[in-house]
Symmetry: C2
Subunit: 318 residues, 2 copies
């Protein structure tokens, strides 16, 4: 069981996660907050999660951040970029890794042939799933379901729900075992994704405390912590980005992630549409001198910068 | 009319673009290759374009690369990353900018109320479009079409096609004026996107000539050219990315774009799933000493690197 920081602060906290029920974000929320101290509440969009935490409707939010195959989740980065200034009080306080395990799920098999040890799926004519799943399962789909029509849905759990409300067993979905269980569907094929190490990382966000965060004591060397910051650079200055990254190197902070999104503040004119905001993730936490010094020096060479949070390494927990 | 390099090489060249007909990529292809020297051929996926050019089915390909609001096109970057080694002989030779202008398009208005100078669209119950369009038109949709159901399609032109084959005027699409014209639909509302400067950049690719590219003469100072390279860094070395970017700075090359994608070569094991490949775009062209020196020095500090092309700046052409 993952340690749930702050569980003792209130008797029963509300956790906002990206729904619907049985989504992978739900699995991440259950992994961290899956006991009776917490009320888990699904919302429709990633921005809903940011808004719920910002307006105190929820104590924590769980948002998808990065998938090992498909990369960063642009919508989440854009909310952290916070071009509108609405979510400046939020910070990241944790991460959860959830292995993506796609299954072919369908109505219980009563009327279709299923004699072979490995089911022949050729009777399936229509597959529902989230667009990202098609790309993650190309090998299995071309081998076993090449002729099935693909219908995009807003999530893999929504795909399972759509199959469950139908009556035709030739309609199936690519979805998770959690969604199959929730919607009482059969798992017709398991682990159909191309790579065995397709993992999604989720971040846990909260409102920043009004008091300054406690400095870490000398007994904490920062091992097993991560920090995410965002920054922009003067876009007409050659080498500005190199100068920013040199700051991290000077403090021996190893970048474990680096991402870019187009960015335009409200004051920007037309030409500024092609500017970028950068996100750097590295080992260490705020309160350590190397991290604090790097952040201060970064603001000397960057156009703007913001600390987005420091949290314990999820992989280190096993 | 944009200069079409190589038009004189063959009487009639084939241009592969991301279909369907009347897509924004089609508009980009028409902008560059829209005359009788060229045969324009739509294909289904971005990889189909790379494959057609690699296997000589097409002489050039036009692929979407970056949108000023939504950012980079991940599928295109992954093909340039070329983890499978299939597309190593391709290079970028040009770019085209196309302004995204979303319209509400529907069946000709014979049976629905249209008295007001500005049409009241509240009769529309269903909207087809590509998922990206919803996010690009949030303001207009919440003001005028808040209750319409959204149905995802694989492209905005496919959305227009679906409307055109129907008979119910309450079903409309978010699509381009080009698609409305092609499918004989009415434009019910024009320029409904949130920002007036939503532009997509397309790249033109070809097979690299077997002979070495000609060096630019001393009369060419590289103004108005761009170069894209990809590289990976040793992921356990702090500062490796900073060292790579310092090379560009040392040669006074200003990064105009910088992108990251998850990357795993076929030899990688499980842990390597979270490694990245970086894409750096900067002013200048191969054959200039500053660019050639920077590429050579980059290979001294990067784990691997590849020149992906140098081309004339599309914005400079107006």
């Amino acid at each position: 069981m993952t340690k749930a920081n702050g569980a003792q602060e209130n008797a029963r906290q509300t956790i906002s996660f990206l729904g619907p029920v049985a989504s992978y974000t739900h699995a991440a929320a259950l992994q961290r907050f899956g006991h009776s101290d917490y009320v888990l509440r699904p919302v429709t969009t990633i921005e809903d999660i940011f808004a719920a935490v910002a307006n105190s409707t929820a104590d924590r939010g769980v948002v998808p951040f990065e998938n090992s195959t498909n990369g960063i989740v642009p919508a989440t980065l854009d909310l952290f970029a916070n071009a509108t200034g609405k979510y400046g009080e939020l910070e990241i306080v944790g991460e959860e890794y959830v292995a993506v395990n796609h299954c072919i799920v369908g109505l219980p098999l009563t009327s279709v042939p299923n004699d072979a040890a490995k089911p022949n799926l050729s009777y399936i004519t229509t597959l529902y799933s989230h667009p990202q799943a098609w790309g993650q399962c190309t090998k299995f789909l071309s081998a076993h379901l090449a002729k099935a029509e693909h219908v995009d849905t807003s999530s893999t759990s929504r795909a399972a729900e759509l199959v469950s409300v139908g009556t035709d067993p030739v309609v199936a979905a690519i979805s998770s075992a959690l969604a199959a269980k929730h919607y009482k569907l059969d798992i017709l094929a398991d682990s159909i994704q191309n790579t065995s190490n397709n993992t999604t990382r989720f971040l846990v966000i909260r409102r920043s405390p009004t008091s300054s965060p406690a400095k870490s004591g000398s007994d904490n060397d920062g091992t097993g912590w991560k920090t995410l910051i965002s920054f922009t650079v003067p876009h007409t200055t050659p080498g500005a980005l190199a100068d920013c990254l040199a700051v991290f190197k000077a403090h021996d902070l190893n970048l474990t992630g680096f991402h870019t999104r187009p960015f335009s503040s409200q004051a920007d004119g037309g030409e500024a549409a092609w500017r970028y905001i950068f996100f750097a993730e590295f080992g260490g936490r705020r309160g350590e001198s190397s991290v604090d010094d790097a952040c201060r020096e970064l603001l000397g060479v960057a156009e703007s910068g913001r600390w987005l949070g420091s949290w314990e390494n999820g992989t280190a927990k096993g």
